[in-house]
Amino acid sequence: MSAPGAGAPVIEARGLAVGYGGVALVPGIDLAVAARSSLALVGTNGSGKSTLLRTFVGLLPVVGGTLEVLGTRPGGAPRRLAYVGQFHASGFVLPLRAVDVVRMGRYPDLGLFGRMRSEDHDLVAAAMARMGVAGLARSPLGSLSGGQQQRVYLAQALARRADLIILDEPTSGLDAGGRELYLQAFAAELARGAAIVTATHDISEAVEYDQVMLLARRVVALGPGAEVLTADRLLDTFGILLRDPHAEHAQRFVVAEVTHGHPQVIDVGPEVLP
C-alpha cells in the first residue's frame, strides 16, 4: 500500500464540532494533516483530546461541520488506518498470546477469510521487534506487565502499515526504553509516509511535532510546536480548570510554567491558589 501524495491531506476538518450525543464538546475545529506529518493534541483530562481522536477514527459521529479522513468519511477506510485507544485493563484475562494481538493488526487487510501470508508474518515479527517484544511473542497477554502490554498494542498498530496512525497517549505506562523504541518507530513511520496523530500530556515531547493543537474544550492554538507552546497559551490551556466550575477534576489544578527554556506542566493543590 503506497502513501498518498504529500499534497492530499490525510485529515481535513472544516468548522468541525466533536462531542457526545449530538452535543458539541469542542466546536469550530479547522485542521489539515498532510501525509508524512505529525499532529499532537495537548490538553488536560476532559479537554476533548480523546473525543477528537475517536471522531477521527469513526467511533463517534461528527456533531457539526465537515470531516474527511483518508479521502472519505471517518471510519470509511479501515485498511489504511491504525488506532490505539486508551486501554482499560479488563477484569478477565483473555487467552491470547502477544503475537495473536499483533496479528490482529493484519485483519483489516485480510478480511474474514484471507490467509496470513509470509509477508503478513514478516510484518508482525518486524513490528514486535521494533517495540522490543519479539521475545514475548508466545507469552500470554495476561502475564505481561502494563508497559509490556502497551508495547504489544503499539506493535499491533505498526503491523498494520497504515497511512494514518492515531494514538491516544501512546507513551503512558512505557519505561524509558519503551519510550525510546516508540520514538524511533514513530520517526520511521513518518519517513515511510504515514501521518501520525497523538494525544499527549507530555509537552516536551509535543515540541517535536509538525503541528500542535492546544485543547481546552476549544482550540486554544494550532501551529508548529515551537510557536504554539508558549507559557501564555499553556496557562490558557491548562489553567482553564481554574475557571471551569463544572470540571470533574477541579480538586487538582494544573498550570504550566517554563523551566530551562521548555514549557512544563506542574500540578498544584488548591491550597496554593488565592
Binding site: 479501515p78 485493563a89 491470547l96
Partner: protein
C-alpha cells in the same frame, strides 16, 4: 465390553443420547467460549430462560416447541438490545428483569394447563434419553451452522472479545457481529432444549468453556478443551444415569460443573506455587 461401553452398545437410546450430547458439547464449547470471553454469561442465562414462554406457548397452540423456542429467543435478543441501548441503568438490571419477566410469563402460560406440569420439567431439564432421530438430525444441523458461522466470523469475534472499538476501527462493525454472536447463543440454546433442557444448557455453555479458559492460552485450544470436557461430561453423566438411575441431563451438567471447579482449584494451586517467579508489576491473573 464391561460397564463402560456396554450401556451404549446394547441400548439405542443411550447411543442416541451420547451422540446428541457430543453434538451439544461441540456447539456449546464454540459458543460458550465467546460467552465466557465477552462476559455474556448473564445474557446467555437470559436467553436460556427467555425461550421458556416461547416453548410453552407453542405447546399450548399445538406447534413444535422448537419454533416457539426460536420466537422466545429472538424476542429476548430484541428486548436485550433495546434495553441496553435505551436504558441509562446498567444493562444487568434491565436484562435481569427481562429474564424474570420471561420466566414468569412461561410459568403463567404453563399454569393454564394442568397437563403441562410434566412438560415443564422436560423443558427445563431436557429429555436426552428420549432423543429421536429427527432431534439428533436437528442438533447435527445446528452444530454444523454454529461451527461454520464461528469459523467465518473468527476474526471479528476475536477482535470483539479483545476490544469492540478495535473491531469497529478495523472495519468489522461491532454491533453487527455482537448480534451474530447473540443469534449463535440463541440457536445453541433453542436446539439444546430437547437434550439438556433450557436451564441446564446454560451449564454446558459456561462450565466446559470456563475450564478451557483456565487451561488454554489461545482461543482455539480453549474451544478444544471445552468440547473435550463437554464430551467427557456427557459420557460420565449418561453412564452414571444408567447405572444409578439418576436424571441424565442434570448429571451431565453436574459432572461438567465439577470438572470446572476441579480445574479452577488446580490452576489456583499451580498459580500459587509459581507466584515467586512472577514479576512484581504483573497484573493479577484469572477471572474475578
Amino acid at each position: 465390553m464391561g460397564p463402560f461401553l456396554e450401556p451404549f452398545l446394547a441400548n439405542e437410546f443411550m447411543l442416541r443420547a451420547l451422540l446428541a450430547g457430543v453434538l451439544v458439547s461441540i456447539a456449546c464449547s464454540i459458543v460458550g467460549t465467546f460467552v465466557v470471553l465477552r462476559g455474556l454469561a448473564f445474557i446467555g442465562d437470559a436467553l436460556a430462560h427467555g425461550v421458556l414462554p416461547g416453548i410453552a406457548g407453542a405447546l399450548l397452540l399445538g406447534l413444535p416447541g422448537i419454533a416457539g423456542a426460536a420466537v422466545g429467543a429472538l424476542a429476548m435478543i430484541a428486548g436485550v438490545n433495546l434495553v441496553t441501548r435505551r436504558s441509562r441503568l446498567s444493562s444487568d438490571t434491565a436484562i435481569g428483569l427481562l429474564f424474570v419477566a420471561m420466566l414468569a410469563l412461561g410459568v403463567v402460560i404453563v399454569s393454564r394447563s394442568s397437563s403441562f406440569a410434566g412438560d415443564l420439567v422436560g423443558i427445563l431439564f431436557g429429555q436426552i434419553l428420549g432423543t429421536s432421530l429427527e432431534g439428533l438430525a436437528t442438533q447435527a444441523v445446528a452444530t454444523t451452522i454454529v461451527f461454520a458461522v464461528a469459523l467465518a466470523c473468527a476474526r471479528p469475534f476475536l477482535l470483539l472479545s479483545f476490544d469492540p472499538e478495535q473491531a469497529d476501527v478495523a472495519g468489522f462493525p461491532s454491533r453487527r457481529y455482537h448480534l451474530v454472536m447473540l443469534v449463535l447463543v440463541a440457536l445453541t440454546v433453542v436446539v439444546s432444549f430437547q437434550t439438556v433442557g433450557t436451564l441446564l444448557v446454560f451449564g454446558m455453555l459456561l462450565a466446559p468453556a470456563g475450564a478451557g479458559a483456565l487451561l488454554a492460552h489461545r482461543v482455539e485450544p480453549m474451544m478444544a478443551w471445552g468440547a473435550g470436557i463437554g464430551i467427557v461430561s456427557t459420557y460420565l453423566g449418561l453412564l452414571a444415569s444408567y447405572h444409578f438411575d439418576v436424571a441424565a441431563g442434570a448429571t451431565i451438567v453436574l459432572v461438567a460443573a465439577a470438572i470446572f471447579f476441579l480445574v479452577l482449584a488446580g490452576t489456583n494451586l499451580r498459580d500459587r506455587l509459581t507466584t515467586g517467579r512472577r514479576e512484581p508489576d504483573a497484573p493479577a491473573t484469572g477471572p474475578a
